[in-house]
């Protein structure tokens, strides 16, 4: 698991030009998506561990390809953080973790937007939605936060469903019988809120700590998220909550 300690957008873009730019394509933003059949202006595939993380042994630090300083930690840090927050904040620990994740997701997606527009030289609105989402999550995957599957097929109902396989939080806390990945829920809420320019909320309706096959999150309007959280606390499983959200739109 990697934790990003410092970053600025300008530093990131400068780092990208230094490490990933090939110097072929102009940097001007075009009005159309242009297919690059030959050598690419930027090296897009850089998500293997050795490519993505670049240690500086003299300084004792690790940066990723975007110049973001990174700290490697084990799952014990997340477990200790959660235990400490529960001990200090009691009932507000969950909300605190959720808020931290939301701020992280919002800032991270804003940075990702600038990076993608710089890398592909087009406005974000012209890029393919799958490219944008995968480009945003791939650094998280390279950092050990798990694989994901984003389902936008229920967007007519105002729902975004995200499955995470191998959650770092669930792996750190183990089988607790509860949904524990509040950081992830806030992360997705902040990222999709930044993408859609809406105030969105997120809730985890299935978790590997509860014995489910994967951690499932729903991102939707905050009113629907409140109802979904209530259904989850009453013991309904993820599939039932999702069906009720689709059937009623979260209004009952």
């Amino acid at each position: 698991m990697s934790l990003q300690l410092t970053r600025t957008t300008s530093d990131m873009l400068r780092r990208m030009d230094a490490h990933l730019r090939t110097g072929i394509a102009p940097s001007a933003v075009r009005a159309h998506v242009r297919g690059e059949l030959g050598p690419q202006a930027f090296r897009h595939a850089h998500y293997s561990f050795d490519d993505f993380f670049q240690p500086d042994r003299d300084k004792g630090i690790v940066r990723n390809v975007y110049g973001q300083r990174t700290l490697f930690a084990s799952g014990a840090l997340l477990a200790s953080l959660t235990a400490t927050l529960v001990e200090l904040l009691d009932g507000k620990a969950t909300e605190t973790l959720y808020r931290a994740g939301m701020l992280w997701g919002d800032a991270d997606f804003a940075t990702c937007t600038a990076r993608l527009e710089h890398e592909y030289a087009v406005p974000l609105s012209d890029l393919d939605i799958a490219l944008v989402l995968e480009s945003w999550w791939w650094p998280r995957r390279a950092g050990g936060w798990g694989r994901w599957r984003c389902d936008l097929s229920k967007r007519q109902s105002g729902l975004v469903v995200v499955d995470v396989f191998g959650s770092a939080v669930a792996g750190a806390l183990g089988k607790t019988g509860f949904c524990e990945c509040h950081v992830y829920a806030g992360l997705f809420a902040g990222a999709f809120g930044r993408l859609t320019a809406h105030q969105l909320g997120g809730v985890e309706i299935a978790c590997e700590s509860r014995g489910d096959a994967c951690c499932r999150f729903v991102v939707a309007d905050p009113s629907k998220i409140e109802r979904a959280r209530d259904w989850r606390d009453r013991g309904q499983n993820g599939d039932e909550i999702l069906k009720r959200l689709q059937a009623t739109g979260g209004n009952s």
């Binding site: 159309h32 297919g35 059949l37 012209d126 599957r149 967007r155 859609t196």
Partner: protein, 258 residues
């Protein structure tokens, strides 16, 4: 003329006479037939006459035997005893099988009736004109010669004809025997960089959800130069109709119903 005197006893009689004697004893009605053969009905063994050289006939003095009657078939006896029965005739073979031209239909088969022996009561196919017969298949190559082509002679694989080389391929087990269905397996390969089917679907749609399969976008999304270059790639379909052709961020975000 020979003057040799013979004393003939039953054992000395000709074999035909002995047979005639036995037939006379067993079948009196057959005596006439025996008479025709031998010329006398007196088959009793006579004591030898007194030795008279001039009266003793030799074999050379015997009158010549009449020629044998024509053979009498058993069928006459059978048909005299039992009423004649109808023998089912074999149906005529179709023209296509006997390779007879349809312009000249063959005559109906002839059934031989009571005057012939039962063994001869069979359907005889009509004679086939030889000029309309299908040419006979060429004679097979002797087995020894075929084996020598593969075993005795040292033939390099390049010299073996292609038709024979294909016969040396290992026989693949049938799908029913191996339990495999006719569906495409993960080991099947598609002509895209020697990529397996499983690898292909892991790239385009890793959880194999048909509803989530994305189709190539339409050409108007690209500029003219890009479209022209993409047309050179056979795996990119630009002009096909797609169910949802606009997957840009703007279009997808517009379709959200918060």
């Amino acid at each position: 003329m020979s003057t040799q005197t013979t004393h003939r006893v039953a054992e000395d009689l000709p074999e035909t006479v002995q047979i005639a004697q036995l037939l006379a004893e067993l079948m009196p009605e057959a005596a006439d037939s025996a008479k025709e053969i031998v010329g006398s009905t007196d088959f009793s063994v006579q004591p030898p006459p007194p030795a008279k050289d001039d009266l003793a006939p030799s074999f050379d003095d015997l009158p010549p035997l009449p020629p044998p009657p024509p053979p009498r078939f058993l069928s006459k006896t059978i048909h005299a005893t039992f009423p004649p029965r109808e023998v089912p005739a074999k149906p005529a073979e179709p023209a296509a099988e006997v390779h007879v031209a349809p312009a000249t239909p063959p005559p109906l088969p002839v059934v031989e009736t009571v005057d012939t022996a039962p063994a001869e009561l069979e359907v005889k196919p009509p004679p086939l004109p030889e000029e309309k017969m299908t040419p006979a298949a060429p004679a097979r190559k002797p087995v020894a010669e075929t084996i020598s082509d593969f075993v005795l002679e040292s033939v390099s694989p390049a010299e073996i004809p292609a038709a024979r080389r294909t016969e040396e391929r290992p026989i693949e087990p049938a799908a029913a025997m191996t339990g495999e269905s006719s569906a495409v397996t993960a080991e099947s390969r598609i002509p895209l960089g020697d990529l397996t089917v499983a690898g292909f679907f892991s790239l385009i749609n890793w959880h194999n959800d048909p509803s989530a399969v994305r189709h190539p976008p339409l050409a108007p999304r690209f500029d003219a130069k890009t479209t022209e270059e993409l047309r050179k790639i056979p795996f990119i379909v630009l002009d096909a109709e797609t169910t949802e052709d606009d997957w840009t961020v703007a279009a997808v975000l517009k379709s959200f119903a918060w």
